[in-house]
Amino acid sequence: MADTKLATRIETGVDERKVLLSIQDLRVWFELRRFGFGVAGYVRAVDGVSFDLHHGEAIAVVGESGCGKSSLMKTILGLYRPREGKVTFDDQTISDMGRKGLNWYRAQVGYIQQDPYGALPPFMSLQRILDEPLVIGGVHNKDERIARIHKVMGEVKMHPVEDFLQKFPHMLSGGQQQRAVIARAMIREPKLIVADEPVSMLDASVRVEILKLLRGLQETHNLSFIYITHDLSTVKYFSERIMVMYAGRLVEKGPISKILKNPLHPYTSALMAATSDPDAKNADSYKEVPPGEPPSLVKPPAGCRFHPRCSRIIQGLCDQQDPPEFEPEPNHQVQCWLYQ
């Protein structure tokens, strides 16, 4: 890849392209209902998240189970309403969009949902699965629809296309099902693709194949891309920037090579330390792992949400005051008092 601009972005985070998607102080809370007493509290799944995504940019959101990754994405897709904050796409705020606007928006964003096995309707052939979004999107010419279906099937490398189009999801292997899900996300030629753990259910050997396919599509179509994962070892093959999520917050954001070389937030460091590469020496020593588990999102800890597990805690500060976002170096932000 002789793209020097890409190399610069990966190193420095400087991105001159136009912003496509902008998220500002987003909060997504789910009500906890108590029988007869109304609302008992809230699950603060997303609790003050901001970031920009540029045209053609690929970013990764990394975090453990339950930290709010899927809730954040579903809100970006317009499936959940934010409690506060806004999502702007191509300078239009999605919460202000009417039905027509939302239809337009949905065509601009392709979604690859978590769990490929539940993603495809079981009683539809691939032909119908791919035809439907086009019909809904107002492509009335049948020949055009057929041409587009063939094109996208070729792009996700499902050959011979004719054979696959007649198949039903259960006739496909996990990897093939995931290709079909990708084809469906691509069929309306979106500008943005959101891929929620696209490979975590697949076998190791198939995983890489699917990630490479996605990366290829992202580059050839100059797509903006959000890749959600809990697996730090895959992000560098895939994205220019990383955002690390913990308990509803983006605790660290920055260009990929900076974060992987020099993680700033203690949680990011812990994730990196816990990620193994296959190496027989690993068996000779114990790993340094923060104790405990992620906090409840109903009553998150006061102060920094990571403080009960943090080995570098500043007593009297971290356990009392919520750290704001600091920028210790350009384009690299961190929510941690160590960088004040």
Binding site: Y237, D277, P278, A280, A283
Partner: protein, 320 residues
């Protein structure tokens, strides 16, 4: 009865087939491997290659549709395959070796306190009284890092990671010399996973337990591995010392499998393996990996023997 005093476990020509309406599923198809005391072997392979079936075959936990089940399993030199079901239950399962099944943390009994669940195998298999069994459970909780006041809790009151530790405590309570772990951390978070591997390392060091770790997570498996066995389509295609295997696998499949692992601390691009493993019902008579192997040559049309090379074993014609 044959005896062999050096090895804790020796498996020879182990076969476990399942009967189905479309033919026999040859899930475990003539396996050989062995394990010394206080060592851990990891069995690595893709989904469906027969890893869980191997665990079931070793522990004789068989489904109803068993077809062929044969071979030898020596535990401390004694052929336990020759045991009757009653002898096996009394002398082997739990007391000799125990299993932490795949998804164990979700199969705890929801209405029994976790302390009682951990104590139960001790009462049944060691014949100890309830008080003493609870006492043993308490000790096991300490080994696996679960606070002892959790003894009286129910499974739903524990996180996934804590429930998995409880499942390990249960396998440990009868002091077996060998524990088989089937995908012990695959459903858990990264940090929880790392914590559990620390627990397993500590048990191995403090109690001298041996492990068979079954997983498809190659990177994490290196946290516990002394030995590696690579499984493909019902067979083991390579075994060797982890320190020799990880830097330089021999079998083409093992090589490609290792190359498919994304690495955090290295820059090489991961590669994928094209094609799919064969059906375990219609296996080729050639080398089972031949249809996907970039190195295949004429000889590969025949089933390769297991070849010994500097203490390593590989089932591939390239080394004949």
């Amino acid at each position: 009865m044959t005896t062999n005093n050096e090895k804790l476990l020796r498996v020879e020509r182990l076969v476990l087939h399942f009967r189905t309406t479309v033919g026999a599923v040859q899930a475990v198809d003539g396996l050989d491997f062995s394990l010394d005391s206080n060592r851990a072997v990891v069995i690595l392979g893709e989904s469906g290659c027969g890893k869980t079936s191997l665990a079931k075959a070793i522990l004789r936990l068989l489904p109803r549709n068993v077809g062929e089940y044969s071979g030898k399993v020596y535990l401390n030199g004694t052929d336990v395959m020759a045991f009757s079901e009653e002898e096996f239950r009394q002398n082997v399962r739990w007391v000799g070796m125990s299993l932490v099944p795949q998804a164990a943390m979700n199969s705890l009994n929801p209405v029994i306190r976790v302390g009682d669940q951990v104590a139960e195998p001790a009462m049944i298999h060691l014949g100890v009284k309830k008080d003493e069994a609870i006492n043993l459970a308490k000790q096991m909780f300490q080994h696996v890092g679960v606070p002892v006041d959790f003894l009286v809790r129910y499974p739903f009151e524990l996180s996934g990671g804590m429930r998995q530790r409880v499942a390990i405590a249960m396998a440990l309570v009868t002091s077996p010399s060998l524990i088989v772990l089937d995908e012990p951390t695959s459903a858990l978070d990264l940090l929880t996973q790392a914590n559990i591997f620390n627990v397993l390392k500590r048990i191995k060091k403090e109690l001298g337990t041996s492990f068979i770790l079954i997983t498809h997570d190659i990177a994490t498996s290196s946290e516990l591995a002394d030995e590696v066995a690579i499984m493909y389509a019902g067979q083991i295609v390579e075994t060797g010392n982890a320190k020799e295997f990880f830097p330089a696998p021999l079998h083409p499949y093992a090589h490609m499998l290792m190359a498919s692992v994304p690495r955090l601390r290295a820059d090489q691009d991961p590669e994928f393996i094209t094609g799919q493993p064969p059906s375990l019902i219609n296996l080729p008579t050639s080398c089972r990996f031949a249809p996907r192997c970039p190195k295949r040559f004429e000889k590969c049309d025949q089933d390769p023997p297991i070849i010994e090379k500097n203490g390593r074993k590989v089932k591939c014609w390239l080394y004949a």
